[in-house]
Amino acid sequence: MKYLDEYRDPDLAQRLFAEIRRITTRPWAIMEVCGGQTHSIIRNGIDQLLPEAIELIHGPGCPVCVTPLEIIDKALAIASRPNVIFCSFGDMLRVPGSAKDLFRVKSEGGDVRVVYSPLDAVRLAQQHPDREVVFFGIGFETTAPANAMAVLQAHRLGLRNFSMLVSHVLVPPAISAIMESPTNRVQGFLAAGHVCSVMGTWQYRPLVERYHVPIVVTGFEPLDVLEGIRRVVLQLEAGRAELDNAYERAVRPEGNVAAQQVLSEVFEVTDRAWRGIGVIPQSGWRLRNAYRAYDAEARFAVGDIQTRESPICRSGEVLQGMLKPNQCPAFGKECTPRTPLGATMVSSEGACAAYYQYGRFIKAEEVGVAR
């Protein structure tokens, strides 16, 4: 059996695979929401080792991939300004905007810097009082507490030269949008473990009830993912829909209350466009009015932007689970991690990049991978 000897505990992995095979009697489509889980699934060949009846649909949980093109273009416009130090997480630099990416802006002389933590950007603002320091505040509920704290810290320090380009997205409204889509095939979800470390698990109970869909909070290691799948299949086979936590070592039901307090102090819920998907109501966070002084969009007046997506990129379908990355005609040809046409080919959490990195150039069924 392919890959299995690479698992941390191959015996346990073997037992979990066997158990999933044993309990599976019908076809099921399960979505892993988080890009980190997609990466783990492809890296470890989990999708190819599962029984054929189980299809894993890769979800939209890659923050780099779903940050809307308009925001990327705004980032490029702001980063191009002469007095700006533009700070970002590293994986945003190659995300294609309408005409270029942040790497190009940097090579053209823009001061674009990769930071490890948003607090590093606040420190840069302290060190360079004569420059405008802008942080690209993207991500799901996992990165939001860090970004909120950076805004609070800039406020506390009275920094007038710090601002944030905010484009936060939220998991629960995305699950609603997927379940309400007329083309939806998803029957059960692996919820993103670290999002729940911050937000807790309670937000998912209404979704379980409204859509009668099993949701299992799941970690990121191969064995975590397998255990999450096993628990979803158990529910599906029994006709149950419950909220379950398979990642208890890092997720408490109430989440991180201190982080939630700061989040609600700094951010408020807003409608948000998701790249490749479109606007999902109430699916993002923006700065509250009290912190509008730190809003880079207002500060730099970058309202008027005409966006243009690559005409051949089909990442929108990939993000909605309608197309596997290697079913896209451009995959591995015009579109590679070096020359990405869409954001899903950029980040290691993007489904296309994961498929490329682990050599999934041909669909599994075409090469007859042993299961």
Binding site: R8, Y116, T143, R156, H194, R249
Partner: protein, 89 residues
Amino acid sequence: MCLGIPGQVKEIYDMNGIRMGKVDFNGIVKDVCLAYLPDITVGDYTIVHVGFAITRLDEQSALETLALFQSIGLLDEELRSNAAEEEAA
């Protein structure tokens, strides 16, 4: 970005009124904000996202995850790529 890496708190200090710590990820030590885990103490393990400790973790789970991440190269990917890009800049 969203992976989250377990590490051990080695030292706690204050930076401009924010609770910070030195956190050891199998030999790589980083400055990490501890404001969201007000009860965490030196010696405890935590999962760190973009420089912020977001949840506690028991020692055994943390060590197992760290060993796994190191064996498949994920530690360097998460912790060092940014610094390397900065140096290259």
